[in-house]
Amino acid sequence: MALLDVRDLKTYFKTDDGIVKAVDGVTFSIEKGRTLGIVGESGSGKSVTCLTIMGLNAKRNTITTGEALFKEQDLLGMGMRRLRQIRGNDIAMIFQDPMTSLNPVHKIGNQLTEAVLLHQDVTKKQARARALELLKAVGIPRAERRVDDYPHQFSGGMRQRVMIAMALINDPDLLIADEPTTALDVTTQAQILNLMNKLQEEFGSAIIIITHDLGVVAETADDVLVMYAAEVVEQGPVNQIFSRPHMPYTWGLLGSLPRLDAETERLVQITGQPPSLLRPPSGCRFHPRCPYVMDVCKQTDPPLKPVTGDIDHYAACHLDEETKDREATKLLAGMVAEARTG
C-alpha cells in the first residue's frame, strides 16, 4: 500500500466567470521515502493538486471529488479535526515564496515551536530545543542567536531554510514542496535542493516536489508526473521520462531546459500560452500548441496508456509509438550534441 494514493482527483473553483477546472482527474501515488516530481508550466494545476490534498482550498467556492488516501485514510473525506492532526505532523508543506510565507510579527523561533506544540505533548523549553536543533540541521549560522530574530531579518534563502525546518520539525512522513526554489537565485536554489536531498536521507520523508523546471526534477525526483492544463499527460520513473519521453509536451519541457550555448539551433520549443481552464480545448488539451497535431487529437482526449517496454511509464498521446520513439531519440540526440558543442 502506497503512503499516499491519489485517485481521480478533481478540484473545481466556482468563480464569477464560471467553473475553473483547476485539477481534472489526477491519479498518482507515492511510496514511503520516495520523491515524486510534479512538473508543468505555471497554471497547470500543480499547486491546487497539493493544496487540495492538504485541504487548504477555500471551502466556499471549491468543489472537490476523488480520493486522497494517506495511510489508507481519505484526506478529502475526513473531519477537520483529524485533518488538522495530520497537517504539519504527518504531512508538511513548504511554499514557493519564502518572503511571504512566514508571519512578519512573530519571531522565527516562536513560529517553529508553534508547530511542535500543536502536535506534541512537550514543554515550551523542549519545543524550543527542538526548534534550535532543526535550525542547525537546515544550516542557519549562529542559530542560537537567530532563533529570536524576526523573518525580515533573514534573506530569502535563509527563510526557505526556516520553512524547511518548520516542515520537518515533527518528522513528517510526507513533505510537499511547492516550487521551493523558484523564488531564489541560482546558487541558493542549488543549496536548497542539496539540503532537501540530504535531509530526506536523514529524516526518511517522502517528498512531492512541484516545479516547472525539469532540471530540478532531474536532481531530486525518483518519479515524475507531467501535468498540462489540469491533467496528467505523462508519468513514470525519472530515468524513463528522461530517456524515452513519450509526449510532445514533455519534449517541449525538455527542449526548454537551459542551454549551455544559446547560439545553437533551438530544439522543440513550446509556443503559445497554456489554455484557459474555464474553457479547455476539445480533445487533447495540448493540441492547439502541438507540432504533431492530427485530426483525432482535436476530437478525443487520449487516455494515459502504458508505454510498451517500460515499467510504470504512462503517456497520453495519440501518436503511434514508433513516431514517438523516433522523435524522442532525435530530440535527445540533439540535446546531447548541443551539450557537446556547448
Binding site: 492538504m54 487548504l56 488538522r84 492532526q85 495530520i86 497537517r87 504539519g88 505532523n89 508538511a92 508543506m93 511554499f95 515564496d97 511571504t100 510565507s101 512566514l102 508571519n103 512578519p104 510579527v105 512573530h106 519571531k107 508553534e114 508547530a115 500543536l118 502536535h119 524576526y150 525580515h152 520553512m163 518548520m166
Partner: protein
Amino acid sequence: MIRYLIRRLLWALVLFFAVTVVTYVIFFLIPADPAQRACGQLQTQQCLEQAHHFLGLDRPVYVQYGKFFGRLLPFDFNGLAHGHSPIKMPSLGISFANRQQVNSIVGGAAPVTASLVFGGAVTWLLISIPIGILSALRPRSLLDRGAMMFVLIGISAHPVWIGLIFLYLFAFKVHIFPLGEYCNMINPPVGTSCGGPVQWFYHLILPWITFAILFAALYVRMIRANVIETLNEDYVRTARAKGAPESKVMRSHVLRNAMLPVVTMLGMDIALGLGGAIFTENVYDLPGLGRVLRLSLDNFDLPTTQGIVVFGTVAIIAFNLIVDLLYAAIDPRIRLS
C-alpha cells in the same frame, strides 16, 4: 531612538509655530475688534483706546505674538533678575471676554472633550471590530450586507443631524436619555445637578454614539478589508498547513496583522476627532473645548481661541508620538531610526 525623538520634537515645534502664527494672522485679518465688545454700550474713542491698550492690541502683531510665546515658556527671566525662581507655569494668557485665566478655561473644558473623544473612540472600536471581523469572515452574507449599509449611512450622516435625531427620539419622545448636559465624573462643582461616574457615563452615551458613528463606519470598512486581505496572506496558509486550529489562526496570525494599520489610523483619527467633537459638543450642550472654541470665536476672544489651538496642537502631537511608539512596539519591522 533618541534621534527619532529629537526629529519628532523638532517637527512638533515647526508645526506649533505654523499653527499659532496662522491663528494670529487670521485673527488680525478679520475686521473685528475685541475692544468694541469690551466697551459694550460705551463706544467712545477714549474707551476703545483704553481697551486696546489694556488688551495689548495697540502693540504690533509680532510683539503680541512674542508676548504670547513668552508666556508659554516655562522660564521666567524677569523673575530670575529679581531673585525669584526661574521656573514658572506656562500661561495661555487672560481671556478678552471675561478676564479669566485661559489656563483654567481650557483646564475646565479639556476633561469634557477628552471624555467625549476617548469614550467615543472606545465606542467606535467596540462597534467596528466585531462587525468588521465577522463580515470579513462571511463576505456577502446577510450580516456583511447589513454592515455595508451601515457604512454607507454612517459615512454620509452628519453628527449634528444624528445628534438632533437621537435627542428627539431618545430624550424628547421616549425619555430614556437626558437632553444634553454634562456631569463631572469626579468632584462635581457645587450647584450642579449631577455628578459621579454613573451619571457621567449615562449622560455621555448618546454623545458617544453620535460622535462614533462616522468613525465606526470607516473602521468597519477598513477592518473588513484588512482582515480579508490578511486571510489571503501566505503566512496564514502556512499556519493552517502547520495544523493550527482556525481560532488560533485568527488570533495569532490574522488579527494581529490585520489590526496593525488600525493602530496607526486610530492615532490620526483621534486627532481628527478633536475637530469633530465641536459638532457633538454643541448639539448636546457639553462644555468642552469645542463649545468654548465656538464661544471664543463669537467674542473675538483671541487668547482663548489661541489657548485651545495650542492645547489641541500639543495634544495631537503628543498623541501621535505615543501611537508611533506603540506601533513600533507591536510591529517588529518598524525600527525607530
